[in-house]
Symmetry: C2
Subunit: 385 residues, 2 copies
């Protein structure tokens, strides 16, 4: 079994193997720019990129992918049969192709499928896993990639704007938000948001519209009637259908009057977020940024930890990279990471106390040499006018 | 390194380990019924199911998942540190939990991440991969699962119906389909379909609306103006937001007058499809069903293979299982598979000839003891009235 190596460089000199479906695996999509529902095979060998594709996909792959060459699986399957195997497995067929290139050492992603790995190792191949970012350049966004993210963000901002208009137009009655005689709910507002996003070419899943105690669980999507005078979190993170890049934004609002406890919570989170954004620049350590926000919250009297048997305070990371995946390297968290020019990261501290409410505020920023560019232009306010 | 075993049973006596994100990995979702964007850890140990969850997700997992116990990752991380590791990896932490249960042999899915596997093996664990279906019972749908698929299918049929109305209402001018002065395109019609699906609680991606030569590539999504007197393929396969189960249906239509060549192609595919459906029952071999359709097409003079440098004829499988994944076991294809009562499979032969056009017709059927139940109720017709 190959020894682990911490960071082999996935450069032109490494021979790379990925087996995955590009619908769910952003690395193989990044490498091939080819979308297919079922797993396929990508190789980078002697500096050349190859796909080995089923008959069903071979012509489409030739037309759509960016690799140097698309090879038909059936052709290599036939060669494998000639070599004496009646019912060759995928790895048997791949082995024949690999032998043609006289390569037996491969860098593979950390999530490379174990069964294929075991079979290839039995056939004499050495597989070395490499952690994310598998392709370093995936973290460093090109101007085109930044533009794709910004385009998705424009859709997010328009969708939130039209959604907050619903809340603005609603009337408060018995603590509920009534519009056209119906109470606005997490579900109905989420549907409005997701439809608005789809009309702008974005697919949203698990959009968070959560209110009150629900929102104190950061990944709770929210359910039931929205309530006046409580904080409502909108966390919106769709993918563009056209480019497959994501945007990600969170805003917290109150319909009606925000109690002082929520106002103070909001101001603290906003100050914490600005403190974070202010420190983002090439060379800054994400761990320091995260810790400084944590410290600021504690100075303001907001403790983090297990309280009454549940996690309260600020118990998630400050931010994450974004691109073809909604969560991708780097993290701004408890772990060391020196930010690099070209990374796009979220900055999204939050504070969660079931007895008060929840506040999270999130922007996306592009790391630059001397600071960062905020890709989010939506205003920040607590009470709806 | 553990030897491969072909089919260990993932029953109550096997100790099972999965590390995956449930948004993209249906096995961990099936086992936990818990949705989270980032990878988490599922164990089945001594007949008990466990999740090891980050602080961020632990409370939500306790509320939403169906496992016996949810353990906080941070608690085991602290234990690992006490044992002397300053910066324990995920597998170090998992190893401490595994040691508490005195288990070191694990059945894992074929797609188990290689890096974690290598690390666990180094720590003395034996990992045995098991091919799909990892959980045999996932292929055998319960009445609730069949109902979830059928509910998604109802949305598909309503969405296609309203979409075909657009084509019905359109006027033919210069070979294009004009509606309100605009030419209907693959893109505009797909947008209509996807919005109709979303309004019914389904998420569609890569819906196929392809016309003419585009449609001769079975996974081409289609682009540009739809044309009169050519075959147009609609392949619709969304997932229900609520249940996460999929439906999948394909219909082929012509606006205007279908040429005789397309009519004959359509009749042949339809006959082939009915021939397939007729053979579906418990114990039937999928390979025989696939071959009989292939034979029928050849009898009717429709050859399959490389013609003028591209694949033509019937060059994909007859069908696939469907459920939490759009493509899941079993396949009805060149490979042996004895159908079992409770499987839900598509039957979707197609014929593709750039000089004629493309036809594919797809229903979903539930395998029964003496036949099958068609879960698709949408009519089949070629020309729009």
């Amino acid at each position: 079994m190959a020894e682990q190596e911490e960071h082999p460089k996935t450069d032109q000199h490494a021979n790379v193997l990925i087996i995955a479906g590009s619908e769910t695996d952003a690395n193989i999509y990044y490498a091939s720019r080819f979308l297919a529902p079922d797993p396929f095979i990508y190789l980078q060998v002697h500096g050349k990129s190859l796909l080995l594709m089923s008959d069903l996909e071979v012509d489409r792959a030739r037309a759509q992918s960016t690799v140097d060459q698309v090879l038909p699986y059936s052709e290599y399957e036939a060669k494998t049969k000639i070599s004496g195997l009646a019912a060759p497995s995928l790895t048997d067929v791949l082995h024949v192709l690999m032998a043609e290139h006289a390569v037996s050492e491969w860098v593979v992603p950390a999530n490379f499928p174990l069964r294929h790995a075991d079979q290839l190792r039995k056939l004499g191949h050495t597989l070395i896993t490499k952690n994310e970012p598998f392709f370093e350049q995936r973290s460093l966004k090109t101007p085109q990639e930044v533009d794709a993210i910004r385009q998705a963000q424009i859709a997010v901002e328009a969708a939130l704007d039209s959604t907050l208009d619903l809340l603005r137009q609603s009337e408060i009655k018995d603590g509920l938000l009534l519009l056209g005689g119906e109470a606005l709910t997490s579900e109905s507002v989420r549907r409005h948001l997701d439809l608005a996003l789809m009309k702008k070419g974005c697919i949203a899943q698990h959009t968070i519209v959560s209110c009150g105690v629900d929102a104190c669980d950061p990944h709770n999507e929210g359910s039931g009637p929205l309530r006046a005078n409580q904080s409502i979190i909108f966390d919106i993170f769709p993918r563009s259908n056209e480019t497959r890049y994501h945007a990600d934004m969170t805003r917290t609002v109150v319909k009606g009057k925000a109690p002082d406890t929520i106002k103070r919570l909001y101001d603290t989170v906003l100050e914490g977020q600005l403190l974070g954004i202010q420190q983002v620049k090439s060379g800054a350590n994400g761990k320091d940024i995260h810790q400084s926000i944590m410290n600021y919250f504690e100075e303001r009297g907001y403790q983090t930890g297990l309280i009454d048997g549940r996690m309260q305070g600020f118990f998630h990371g400050t931010g994450h990279g974004i691109g073809l995946d909604i969560h991708e390297p780097p993290r701004i968290s408890r772990v060391d990471h020196l930010l690099q020019e070209g990374e796009v990261v979220t900055v999204e501290p939050g504070l969660y106390y079931p007895k008060i409410g929840a506040v999270r505020i999130e922007d996306m920023v592009l790391v630059e040499k001397e600071g960062c560019r905020n890709l989010t232009t939506y205003p920040k306010f607590l009470e709806l006018d």
